[in-house]
Amino acid sequence: MNGPEIVWLPDGRRLHMNHGPIDLIVEAFGAPEEVEAAYRQAARCFRTILGELVEELAELRRPSTPRPRPFSGPTARRMETAASRFAEIFVTPMAAVAGSVADEMLAAMLAGRALDRAYVNDGGDIAIHLAPGQSMKAAIAGTGHGLSDRLVIRAEDRMRGIATSGWRGRSFSLGIADAVTVLARDAAAADVAATLIANAVDLPGRPAIRREHACTLQPDTDLGERLVTTDVGLLADEEICEALERGLAVAEDYRRRGLIEAAALFLAGQSRDCGNALPETAAPHDASLFKSHTEPQHA
């Protein structure tokens, strides 16, 4: 069995941390000694984070309800807290795992430290720290707008988490969205919301959409017998519109209730913007490239 691995990326600024399914890019900005201490704290936290999750994995794969269950690990608690806020429909804490790991790692880095900016990018689900007056750019790839598709997050904005979900990604989706990107107060909330909005972008009963039982694809999935999308055939424009509107209704509901700040939904070349997530209405050239990543704003 392999232990956690932490290496510098070739640029010598960012740390790459990998342990099993957790794959992080971590970067901090500030006084050199603060950055170094933050990296040391992050590395220490990373050593145990996966092992702690695995100890409670069986319970984390069971559905949440609006009443959060007690978990002993801090990351597991974040997952349950985030999932339970959305638990009027089926959701397990696993919907928040990537975002919660990002949040927990960011919190470990910040404890007792004074950093200008920092982020933890867990495979596209990103937790952000901004000191007063600071800002960070996040680029949403594949929107076909080149540099214009960058959104700037400022310290005074409430959003500190970005997450993306879709059936083409690493996790299963019940819906057909190519990608849904959500901005929320933390990465855990963004992660759950992106999963559930992407699930809602759907056209039930259409033959063009191929679905399989999750458990036949992955025996220990938290989704059990539920049908997950494995292929999306050609869709008519009105079908794309219908599917996106279903997702948008869910996104708007979450935004009104203060669960998320903004969302962008993509399907087959069309998109919907909820709460002004996109600088301008954008249509992706190649949604399969969809990915979000952050970079510091040097300006």
Binding site: M1, N2, G3, E5, I6, H19, G20, P21, D23, R40, A43, R44, R47, T48, L50, G51, V54, L57, R170, T216, L217, Q218, P219, D220
Partner: protein, 511 residues
């Protein structure tokens, strides 16, 4: 490495392949993976009912002559195109080799190589060491904690402070009682700390009643948040002996402050020989022999490894009958040269701090220059036990006898080892000589370390080795062996001899 976990699983051996799902043990998640799918990480998959590991088998490239830098012949992640890019000396290391289960199956790789006309065989495997530990030598004068004090990682006891060796502080970590004999949390903390130490990563340790120290092989220790730089040049008395001539005629008195022995030049034999005059100084400590004092202070993080921050606190009244006089000059310096101060006696014979004179600068710098760097070294200690040996020969004790008889040369990831005399194959290896990330773990908890046994092919046959399993390095590069391992080239650490040559030097009489 899917075979590895079987022996730690409590379910029936047959259960694993039910409905073509297999359990991956590349990480603690231990996904069940359906045929043709990958696990949660997307990197390990079930191909034809077998976990295909993406941890590559590491083939080390040794420079023609040891000591030089080597370039890896194949970058990680690149596809092997089947061509030999370099004609250098290759060695199939145990890193990523996996192991076999049950034990009586031959080791994953048994590799033949001809070296200087001698047919050699290297048996390559990964050993699971649930009885293993690390001996940590910390070159520092700082008092880290009392002998036998518990050493903790993540709050769990993982070892203790051992007897100091020469000038260094020693920690003895791990071992079966901490790894598998205590609570689950203790075992996990021990395994995590050992794994990080062996993979040359930093580990934060706290010593009961002592300090907090960050230990990393090949790096200076960080003690209570402060990186250490040097060790003392010697004790205070030795420092006087080394540098007394440097101070003659430049200063009236020199006190070298040290945790162990504090030296006074005017009283010390080295000063006397040079005709040093008495100064009427009084040291508050236990006098050993002239000019040498024990216990001027408790061990600590101040001057010369004491608790002293103001050196004057170790001085008593100055005695005018024995030479004390106004204007008498005094240098006080620690045994690392990092702390120093200059004083002159006033009319009441009280020492008063003065700007440090240029003329003494050279002697203080000289002390600092002569100090060894503060450094942590980590030796992995493990036993190649009965089960592992069975993968090498049909009669395991033959391997032990062969190792002790110098017929078999043992390496860990290609790094030479010291085999402790006596029973079993108990080996020690400097982790700095192993390739990066050579160590892994299983949740038992236990460390997984590469191990290779190199011996003459005819000796191997006589030992009862698995002759029919012998293959060449080229075979392995082309096919990857039974476990479908990807292959990865890496430069061997430059200080290691190519193991087959190491064998020839190790057992010259055998040729």
């Amino acid at each position: 490495m899917s075979e590895l976990s079987e022996r730690f699983e409590t379910h029936d051996p047959g259960e694993k392949k039910v409905a073509e799902k297999i359990r991956c043990d590349a990480c603690p998640v231990m996904c069940y993976i359906a045929e043709g799918r990958t696990g949660a990480c997307d990197r390990y998959g079930n191909v034809g009912g077998r976990i295909v590991r993406c941890d590559p088998l590491t083939i080390l490239e040794h420079a023609e002559e040891t000591g030089g830098a080597v370039t890896p012949f194949l970058a990680e992640g690149e596809d092997w195109n089947g061509e030999l890019v370099r004609s250098g000396r290759r060695f199939v290391s145990g890193i990523g080799a996996g192991t076999t289960y049950p034990d009586y199956k031959p080791a994953p790789f048994i590799v033949s190589q001809e070296v200087e006309g001698v047919d050699l065989v290297t048996v390559v495997t990964e050993g699971i060491f649930s009885y293993c530990g690390a001996k940590v030598k910390i070159d520092t004068d700082r008092h880290l904690g009392d002998e036998t004090a518990a050493v903790r990682a993540e709050g769990e006891v993982i070892g203790h402070v051992s007897t100091a060796e020469y000038g260094s502080q020693m920690l003895s970590l791990g071992g079966v009682h901490h790894l598998t004999g205590g609570s689950k949390a203790e075992g996990r903390a021990t395994c995590d700390a050992l794994l990080s130490l062996c993979n040359k990563q930093p580990v934060e340790l706290t010593i009961d009643g002592g300090v907090n120290v960050v230990v990393q092989a090949g790096k200076a220790p960080i003690i209570d948040g402060k990186p250490e730089h040097r060790m003392r040049v010697g004790c205070g008395s030795a420092t006087i002996g080394m540098f007394a001539t440097q101070w003659k005629d430049l200063v009236d008195e020199v006190v070298v402050v040290d945790d162990h022995i504090t030296g006074v030049v005017s009283e010390h034999q080295a000063g006397k020989v040079l005709g040093w005059q008495d100064t009427g100084i009084k040291i508050l400590g236990r006098r050993s022999t002239p000019g040498r004092y024990f216990k001027v202070s408790e061990p600590g993080l101040g001057w010369g490894g004491t608790t002293i921050s103001d050196p004057l606190q170790i001085l008593g009244e100055w005695n005018p009958k024995k030479g004390a006089r106004p204007g008498l000059s005094l240098l006080m310096v620690s045994t690392t040269g990092e702390q120093f101060a200059y004083f002159e006696l006033d009319d009441d014979l009280k020492p008063v701090g003065k700007p440090f004179p240029e003329r003494l600068r050279k002697s203080v710098d000289l002390i600092e220059d002569n100090c060894e760097a503060a450094l942590c070294t980590v030796l992995f200690v493990g036993g190649a036990g009965g089960s592992l040996r069975a993968g090498v020969t049909e009669n395991p004790v033959n391997l032990t006898r062969s190792v002790h008889g110098l017929q078999t040369y043992v390496t860990v990831g290609g790094a030479p080892v010291y085999v402790w005399p006596g029973g079993g194959i108990m080996l020690m290896v400097d982790v700095m000589r192993t390739p990066d990330n050579a160590f892994g773990y299983v949740p038992t908890p236990a460390l997984v370390a590469p191990i290779e046994f190199t011996l003459r092919r005819d000796d191997y046959e006589r030992l009862g080795g698995y002759v029919s399993e012998i293959c060449t390095v080229e075979d392995i590069i082309a096919h990857g062996g039974e476990y479908l391992n990807p292959r990865r080239g890496a430069g061997a650490p430059g200080i290691n001899p190519w193991p087959p040559l190491g064998y020839l030097r190790h057992a010259p009489g055998r040729l």
